[in-house]
Symmetry: C2
Subunit: 323 residues, 2 copies
């Protein structure tokens, strides 16, 4: 018998409620296929294109669920978070759609394009130094001053319930899959995938794909407890953050396996996808395909869903042009 958990684990009903809540504000993104990539891998691949999602990433599902689920009183105080990436954009977009304040703490070194996008959606940025100490100090000040509701990028049941809506659509759009592969960073997308598939398709394998150079989830999975890296460095910059207790709960209970890919394999898979599928997507999204190409025998003959998580790329800094 398991110990009682000291955190709330979102349920299948939470995911269903999230889907209904966010449907007016998100795209039901298309699923694309490529005969070239099917031939290359020997699998039947179905790419769920969240790079076409509102604000450019799946993150708007979870952020939207948190924002639109707030009571009127709570909503009036707005929301706040710390993020240098897609969660900051998504929370700003969702808050803007509800017409409530959104305060984001971002490192001053975050890309200008990301800062511009947050402001474009109506978010307010408070800059911190690029260190955990500074981020936590500045974020505490911002939260105390605004009283805004904290929406963590992934370690939040509302966020995980929202991310779970993606694999629900993917299963409906494909009439079932043998395996779903998604990238893993903090584990929000993978946890949402676990939440949904363990309920509607318990026989579908869930494989997390991670950069070798930020393989804390892989090592946690093998060790049986969370291992957090100090300062991982990878081109897949959305995947540098560590698991937390809530996402670890899902990963340790439902993930079939974690596979890793090198930086070169990730960049090759990224360029190949742009070239053959004609889509703009982030390096993080290429990690699943990189691991499938690397482990063909495992996927051959299978129906495999692949989550393309986002498309917010700096078009002036493409990794295959900077080596």
């Amino acid at each position: 018998m398991k110990d009682a958990l000291d955190f709330y684990v979102p349920t299948f009903e939470d995911m269903l409620a999230a889907h209904e809540r966010i449907a007016p504000y998100i795209h039901r993104t298309p699923v694309l296929t490529s005969s070239y990539l099917n031939e290359l891998t020997g699998a039947q691949l179905f790419f769920k294109c969240e790079n076409f999602q509102k604000a450019g990433a799946f993150k708007v599902r979870g952020a939207g669920n948190a924002v639109f689920g707030l009571s009127e009183d709570d909503a009036a105080k707005g929301v706040c978070t710390h993020s240098s990436g897609n969660h900051a954009l998504s929370l700003s977009y969702a808050a803007g759609r509800r017409g409530i304040p959104c305060n984001v703490v971002m490192p001053r070194t975050a890309p200008q394009a990301k800062k511009d996008a947050v402001r474009g959606y109506g978010g307010t940025i408070t800059e911190c130094e690029p260190s955990t100490t500074s981020r936590e100090k500045v974020f505490a000040e911002v939260q105390a001053k605004t009283g805004g509701n904290f929406v963590h990028p992934y370690n939040d049941p509302r966020v995980i319930a929202g991310q779970g809506t993606c694999s629900r659509e993917l299963m409906e759009q494909t009439d079932g899959l043998d395996i779903v592969v998604a990238p893993i960073g903090g584990g929000g997308m993978i946890s949402g995938t676990c939440l949904t598939l363990s309920n509607i398709a318990p026989e579908t394998q869930i494989i997390a794909a991670e950069p070798e150079q930020a393989d804390d989830a892989y090592r946690s999975f093998k060790a049986g407890h969370i291992i957090a890296d100090d300062a991982p460095d990878t081109i897949a910059d959305g995947l540098k953050v560590p698991l937390k207790e809530l996402t670890w709960h899902f990963v340790s209970n439902h993930v079939t396996d974690i596979l890793t890919a090198s930086e070169d394999e990730i960049v090759d898979a990224m360029k190949l996808t742009w070239k053959r599928m004609k889509i703009v997507m982030e390096a993080s999204c290429a990690v699943p395909l990189a691991t499938i190409i690397k482990n063909k025998e495992r996927f051959a003959g299978k129906r495999v869903g692949v989550v393309i998580t986002g498309g917010n790329v700096d078009l002036d800094l493409l990794p295959w042009l900077n080596s």
Copy 2:
């Protein structure tokens, strides 16, 4: 009363037959929208994404119609064409699917990636010098030797009937449009659009978009007869070819207007589309959006279809990184 024409003009029934014939070999490509671009232009834009088409461009519709419409006897001798671009890829793809030979005359200076793609689909390349004289001489030799059926890139009723299937899908997918904007080079896509819309949506305006630096169609349209440029130079390299009698027939009878855009405007619209819509597309496909942004008042409040014609881009040579 008009003079009798000395060429066959494809009919609406030809387009319907083409659609049935090619359906098993092409994608019904998705129509994407962007609230950002809608806000920017004041119009409601519907992008028909033929960059996701088989062989990476709409050209496979016309090439496929020609290939799959051949009698068994004719098919046995194969097909041939001259093209340095997407028509070469598309004809090779279609011929490969039917299992018949495809001979393509390409200038030796054509991009290696395009040559590799033609060979990848099973086409045979004969190289010529990059001049009209050499191309015609070499092509005559190839045709005489192989006896293959000549499928012109655009001045062919089978090809135009095939291209017309694109706007049929677009109208079905959008429940009607006020205007359709497509790029114009030789005029195959625009002619197919005219063929279809003049039958199913005669009130829908058809606007052709052309680079200022290759504006022969614009000048032909104003003059009332075909004007062919000698050697136009533009980043939109799919649009350098001149109109021919069959495409001029459609342009002069059905096109509402031709609008032009500068090289800088084309590159800006291309990068903007990649950034906001997360799709990889050729410079040629950006000419419609460039002309819409430039002539906002004309499109404001209208439902506008935009044909994204292809996505075969050299990812190592992006125009905004080479200025």
